[in-house]
Symmetry: C2
Subunit: 399 residues, 2 copies
Amino acid sequence: MAMDTKSPMSEPGLPRLLSQRSGVPAFRVMDVMEEAARREAAGDSVIHMEVGQPGTPAPRAALEAVAQALTTQRLGYTTALGLPALRERIARHYQEWYGAYVDPNQVVVTAGSSAGFVLSFLALFDVGAKVVLPSPGYPCYRHILTALGQVPYVARTDADSRWMPTAAQLDAAAADGAEGLLIASPANPTGTMLDAARLAEIAQACRRNRMWLISDEIYHGLTYEAPAETALSVAPEAIVINSFSKYFSMTGWRIGWLIVPPQLVRPIERLAQNLYISPPGVSQVAALAAFEARDELEANKQVYRANRDLLLNELPKAGFRKIVPADGAFYLYVDVSDLTSDSAAFCRQMLADTGIAATSGLDFDEERGHQFMRFSYAGTTAEMAEAAKRLRAWSNLKG
Amino acid sequence: MAMDTKSPMSEPGLPRLLSQRSGVPAFRVMDVMEEAARREAAGDSVIHMEVGQPGTPAPRAALEAVAQALTTQRLGYTTALGLPALRERIARHYQEWYGAYVDPNQVVVTAGSSAGFVLSFLALFDVGAKVVLPSPGYPCYRHILTALGQVPYVARTDADSRWMPTAAQLDAAAADGAEGLLIASPANPTGTMLDAARLAEIAQACRRNRMWLISDEIYHGLTYEAPAETALSVAPEAIVINSFSKYFSMTGWRIGWLIVPPQLVRPIERLAQNLYISPPGVSQVAALAAFEARDELEANKQVYRANRDLLLNELPKAGFRKIVPADGAFYLYVDVSDLTSDSAAFCRQMLADTGIAATSGLDFDEERGHQFMRFSYAGTTAEMAEAAKRLRAWSNLKG
């Protein structure tokens, strides 16, 4: 039984065209990561500032729990909503962090926040629905909506509104038929935040316009000025998306959660049963234990704080002067319009010349991204210092 | 900062209706699993024949590889297509099992076959596209298509065609606008298979009708009469979906793969970057090592074979006489029309009376499922013997 084709990657005739939605753009940062990995494999010394990924592994307590589970548990399918103990622990987290009551039954454990987006978009919006996305913003919001047949409705933000949407924008979008809003505070790529008053204003605007409010709270815990507010404090009808990837340092484990209004639990459970069956069992074991690693996680955060201070001090000396004022997450979003008119080419050149991988703004802002770039500072402080040194030398070289 | 609501599960006013597609039916087997878990927690002795899940954990080699990786690797995001070493190993698997050449670049590692369905449906079909699904069949095919705005086109099968679609059905579906076909051999829930000649016939029918051929090969390796053919042997343009869940005994790890024509790799990579970022890192480590566990996995299979022999012998004595002739997988699909006209109620009663959890045919066949049920025999032989004993006693009791 041999295949018709022997030569590698010969192209069989396809029966018909691919779908239109197969044309969704790449998440470019993953492409940069691939290119960085290729250079590393070829012997280059690469400093990774491209992906929003802690340099640290999962916390020790999580790894120990997994090591034990390997010999004591079968680690098969869990129920689609996740392990009851983990759902309870996540609910308790809202009491501890925000003083907010969440019923464990409102918690849906997901395969990363990625699954949280897919599940909430499917549960809330039909084909053709318009959903407001602030720009710049996390590109996968836009691309997932598009893949699911929904329509991203871009709300352009800028320094005047601290890179967050305004109530007036939401009123206008609703008049144009928008059915929902997705916000993130702290935001990616800017790291800016909504204070309590503005969050309440936005929740109110959603309510009066009968728009769903989806709050991506994945960078909660990683704030350097004031703690972040959960949307639940002003909008119990909000859908909250979170993850163990960032604060809990567990990107590769693909585990996160949703908090949803009671009426949404069963519809989302049905979708999750069909689209995911269950979140990864081993990652749920790790996640449950990660809550007990507070000291280690806070120590990680102090590293990010030091990295942020270092870069805010050093980047301007290397010519990166227009940095968006970030209160949280582990990103600096930089206006590089005085250095280039093509940030993608600039980032490629920077990687080739200095071994520093960073991302152009094009992922986050289709309109203005060519004049921005994003540095992730989730690595070690020694790496950040080395990056600063290389960038200064590069800047001097270029005159 | 307290939430507006204090009482558990009080229902906030929602801004608008949920989406229509939030109404996709449950994957009922997951609901049965929940009910079985509740009974178990209450002290009942439950025999699990409801879920398609091996009673065994991941193979030892996989667990050992994970234990080691916990201390030596960061286990962060991988590239969206998966670890290169795993993609290469999967490609080699096609040489070893089928004598077929697959280029590692055609391999896409996915978060279980679930992600494989979502990615291939999105890459191939736009909103409104009709896709042929044989009935009875795995219900998530139907529900995922519906959630994505596509249209399941049911091809009713029966004993005459060994529960598989015919070329004539495909011609008719294509005339009606169908753009693709999804087949599984061995099939779930029937366990029946397509021989090489019929597989070639179906591939040909797809080709002449310009239909995509998607082949779910998740039960390959679990065959008791003759080995299964991969669709790639007759159709290099086919999309093959597979998983480490069944033969490799790794359900809860949520890890699987696709083999796709070269032209589809980049579109699927872009979709995967956006919808999943990457498959779980720890599960990829486990999967790579699982290939070295052939002896253990073949021993598992011998248990399934013994279970199958036992049940084919014992079930008729308990009144389950009309069993569909299954060549593979670990299911027996039984026509229970002489026992009940409502298989869902029958299964509930059976669980309550005997502690045996099984699934009604309604998951798999909306039209005729009320007179069928599915037993999964992936547990231990002792469990199967105990199940047979309880069923015989139950049958005697009912007279």
